[in-house]
Symmetry: C2
Subunit: 661 residues, 2 copies
């Protein structure tokens, strides 16, 4: 055993290393290599640069720290423990156990100080771009002066895996384009991936690539804390460009047998190697989860400084509020995220009575919503004119100019999805548009929104074969079904102006989960509704649109563009027609409420221009589902309707046969 | 009207422009801007560089041309017409109409000369990388001499939208890393995207970025055909690096009112503007779809040369076959892609009788399959040790060394998916591995495989909450369901060694559609099967594993890791147990065959550790589905089973209650 260091900083860094290694060992599962390799960089960030106060983890003025390399969660938990965020040694000992606040990958809501859920690579990187954009946006909306409560930075640790993922490339390009100077990403350049050396697959010039994106790039020794600090300082001072600090590190730093080896990535060191590592680092072999007093004292001093900084900030906030009452009022609104009373009525009024494509109606509703909800902002992955996602007179977010409410994401659906998550984390109400068929491109980000319970809104237009001539690559078939499978995502496919307003109302109200609005390219007729219908019925996911003739125990369920022809056929046939814009909302109703809409024992048919095996939940094993089986084709939409049996005449005939059968 | 040019080449280029503009005008729908802007570059490629013979569109030695910017399909169809690929003027007049060979975006199988389906941006770019890798791989396997029948190049036209997409970034990085010199991509740098100038969102230094990836990059005036030709020549001669030629173009070149305007991207010019454009280019206003004789004659001469070149190649092929009988035999095998008789038995033998994780069994089956199927190659998105995807002694594909059968895709799931498509287009039998939860990352490529009817194989391991400690970001819940929604994709979730062998057999046989193998992380027991069971029953998607006691009209259906506990419970309760590794294959059976397995009128329960609303097709509206509703959690897998009611005891209790209820 070597002579132990008594340098408090070195002790603190080794503490992070060994807490992480001990936690993984105890769990018999996890990733020790990354925490041991990045402990120096992470400590420099937390100790010297990150603006935070562990006693106030939700301080709105804090910098955001994102561990994009989420498999290194043990490093984050070690930091949160050392800095006093309320993660105890017992919590570290319960790493990766049921109900602990220290799950295998960082999860939002589990431990204070965890800003977001990470693990799927690239997501943290791209979400951080959204967080940084949110800060710059709100700051500018609040006046853009020397102080605002939203003027914070985003610091992240990213891995080679993050940088290989397309979503990170998309986000990096946009961050560089927009000159998001508040981003500082520390790249854990350890040259090791799961399959072995990065020489197997990752030989690109990362620095050159990021410079080409417009980033400020530095290279440092990732174990030289002075150099790391100098680089962080330069990065912080560079306010016109996002920063990447390439920190050359050694994975599993300090482990005699596993440093620089892929073996240390995703498995415990093992008892013997852990002991050897502690010896090599001059660390006591016992007890596990050891924290030297010097490390505690060092961090304690910093905690006191951080608390003072936060208190100074609060004082400055009070002065700012007094000096900028308009800004203060807006900040208050954004923070509370209250919705006006009568939102549904307002939105209905905005689009009322028109026959139009639901995407066009959505565009109208959006204008009113933008007036009512100051935190609402968004854009499209280069399809704004088609998605109808532009806020008129909202201004555009542009390089070094962030106050606009329209974001041009470029043809970058996946980064858009992740950036929406970042903006939602910052308390904004973000939306993003693309064609429904391309929802596939951002699916991993949608899943994370659902997992984090974030109120992102997806405006997904061109929702069926009725897209027409663009053909099968642009015609969604399975997308409705596959979105409906994601736990916690609400999918809403409106049929006319009223339902479009209801869909937006639902989306704006849902601040604890994402919503997908699924909208038609083609014009749809305004529907007649029965006596006794109240607009809020459309919020419950399903309602009776056409009452049946007495004694007719059959019901036709439809959504979106298929509702009008299905309802017409139902009227003709004397059966009930039910509008079901949201299957998820319908299934959240109680059994008796559901039964009042789709009664048990009745014949059920479903009409929807999609392929959703889940409709059997409504129609049953033997019910009729009029929809799509395979891919679409390129032809005018009306002709496709006829060819695929989804025009009004075919629907009517199919339903008549079914009723007679 | 200006004096018409009589330069045959200029006439041919204007012919492409105007045929495309006329086709879009006639269809009243489409994208005229790109074809008009890229006509020069496309003509230079087809006339001087692309090795092709329009009379033999399936000539294996041809270069592959990929229109990654698939919205410019009218340009491709105009080229195919002009070069005599069997696309007639009538076909151009039926652009985007039902049943025509000229759909809105290029579709594989519609017109000869269309190599792949494009439209979803980035896919063509990344698929081209797979095509180029396939060429280099096969060429090296065939001996790597001065001649081989697989020694062709990939030429593509890519747009700014392609370059913004993450999937293209991933593929570009890997192409540079591997030094895929057979790629030449012509970038249509027209500075216009749908929302307007690329200055809105795309300010990066594209050339610098691609140089950082290791590409050879040139910049030219995209309307200067001499410069284009010089750049193509330099690119062709650069055999150690992929090439990007940034061609500065004007969208809708020649249109007085719409050149350089986003308005020309996705809508017809309009009759007036089309007339003005023809005038400005010195083109006759009538008739539409005009092709000058000089252009026809110019291309006709080139066609004759191309045919001679192809004939020379055939002669060289014959000489090569004689000189390299081993290579010739392998080429024959690869071209025929025959499978050995008794494949299923062979694969069963390879994994027989073992209790193991199905991912481990898959790894064993793979070794045997690799011996039996010479075209089989693949890898993982940096998870090979977990996915068990390595072919032992297969060698690795590496920079400038392509003969290995193991591909290290890096953490690039989406590019992997697209590259599998490219390799499948080249006749190989490619597979790619990742965790099931990350199937979301490559979903757009899976969809295209299904649409193109390509036999890509996805090895998706870690298939449920039984992943355990890694937690909800790594535990698939909705992925099984969402994959099952994709038309034409077969999803197979085996329960033991025999079914794993059957899944691979199915996948290897399916050369007209992709297959997803869904595999467990955790060990599963070998199953006992009833008398009369034949292994090929496992290929039909479902079979009776446990016969019911007489008179018991109830059936429990399960897949994968839930089959053993469900079968045990069924034995105990005296009800039938059905293994259903593939729901799609089951529903391809006739109604009576299905009824013999899951009889109508019986009580049905389903057990699967997933969230698949489509199970209602099997269980009915009132059937029991024991599965997951929400996301998982981080804890050891066994504990998660208990917590979520999916351990053997809980399953048994739930089924007993259901049967009693």
């Amino acid at each position: 055993m070597i002579e132990p260091t008594r340098d408090p900083e070195q002790l603190a860094v080794h503490t992070l290393r060994m807490l992480a290694a001990d936690a993984v060992e105890q769990a018999r599962s996890g990733h020790p290599g990354m925490p041991m390799g990045m402990a120096d960089g992470a400590f420099v960030l937390f100790q010297r640069f990150l603006r935070h106060d562990p006693t106030r983890p939700d301080w709105p003025g804090r910098d955001r720290f994102v561990l994009s390399a989420g498999h290194g969660s043990a490093l984050l938990y070690a930091l949160l423990h050392l800095y006093g965020y309320g993660v105890s040694l017992d919590d570290l000992k319960r790493f990766r156990q049921w109900g602990s606040c220290t799950p295998g990958h960082p999860e939002r809501g589990c431990a204070p100080g965890v800003e977001m859920t990470t693990g799927p690579l690239g997501q943290g990187f791209a979400t951080g771009v959204g967080l940084a954009l949110a800060s710059s946006h709100i700051h500018e909306r609040l006046g853009g002066g020397a102080f605002s409560p939203a003027d914070w930075r985003v610091w992240a640790i990213v891995s080679d895996g993050d940088l290989m993922e397309g979503v990170a490339s998309e986000a990096a390009s946009l961050a560089g384009h927009l000159r998001l100077g508040k981003l500082v990403y520390l790249y854990d350049d350890n040259r090791i991936s799961i399959e072995g050396s990065t020489e197997l697959s990752f030989g690109e010039d990362v620095a050159g690539r990021f410079e080409a994106y417009g980033w400020h790039v530095q290279k440092v020794d990732g174990h030289d804390r002075q150099a790391l600090a100098a680089a962080c300082e330069a990065a912080r001072d560079e306010i016109e460009r996002p920063s990447l600090i390439c920190a050359r590190t050694h994975i599993a730093y300090g482990s005699p047998g596993k440093q620089d080896s892929a073996d240390s990535h995703g498995a415990p060191l093992g008892a013997d190697e852990l002991r050897e590592t502690k010896r090599a680092l001059g660390w006591p072999e016992e007890p596990a989860f050891f924290v030297p007093d010097e490390a505690r004292a060092l961090v304690e001093r910093r905690r006191a400084e951080l608390a003072s900084e936060r208190e100074a900030w609060e004082a400055e906030l009070a002065r700012w509020k007094a000096a900028c009452p308009d800004g203060a009022a807006l900040w208050e609104q954004l923070s509370r995220a209250d919705l006006p009373a009568g939102l549904l009525d307002e939105l209905i009024e905005a689009a009322a009575g028109e026959s139009a494509a639901t995407r066009a109606l959505s565009g109208k509703v959006l204008q009113r919503a933008a007036k009512l909800v100051p935190g609402l902002l968004g854009g499209s992955a280069d399809l704004a004119p088609s998605n109808k996602t532009a806020i008129k007179d909202g201004g555009s977010v542009a390089a070094s100019s962030f106050g606009g409410r329209n974001i041009h994401f470029g043809v970058r659906e996946h980064a858009m999805g992740a950036m929406l998550n970042g903006m939602a984390l910052a308390g904004l109400v973000p939306y993003g548009g693309t064609f429904l068929v391309f929802a596939d491109y951002l699916r991993p980000a949608i899943r994370l929104a659902a997992l984090m319970e974030l109120g992102a809104i997806y405006v997904l237009t061109h929702d069926s074969i009725f897209v027409g001539e663009d053909g099968p690559t642009h015609q969604p078939i399975e997308q409705l079904a596959s979105l409906r499978c994601i736990p916690g995502l609400a999918v809403y496919r409106p049929a006319d102006a009223l339902e479009t307003a209801a869909g937006w109302t639902l989306a704006l109200r849902r601040r604890r989960g994402p919503t997908a609005l699924v909208l038609s390219r083609q014009k749809l007729p305004a529907l007649e509704r029965p006596a006794g219908f109240r607009p809020d019925h459309a919020l419950q996911g399903a309602y009776v649109l056409v009452p049946e003739r007495e004694g007719k125990r059959a019901v036709v369920v439809a959504s979106g563009s298929e509702l009008a022809p299905a309802a017409a056929a139902a009227r003709e046939l004397g059966v009930r027609a039910v509008s079901m814009p949201s299957v998820e909302c319908f299934f959240e109703l109680g059994a008796s409420e559901r039964d009042a809409i789709v009664p048990a024992g009745w014949k059920v048919a479903v009409v929807e221009a999609s392929r959703d095996p889940g409709w059997a939940r409504v129609a049953g094993r033997d019910g009729l589902v009029i929809g799509m089986q395979g891919f679409g084709a390129s032809a005018p939409g009306d002709e496709l309707g006829e060819r695929f049996g989804l025009d009004a005449g075919s629907i009517q005939r199919s339903l008549a046969d079914w009723l007679a059968g």
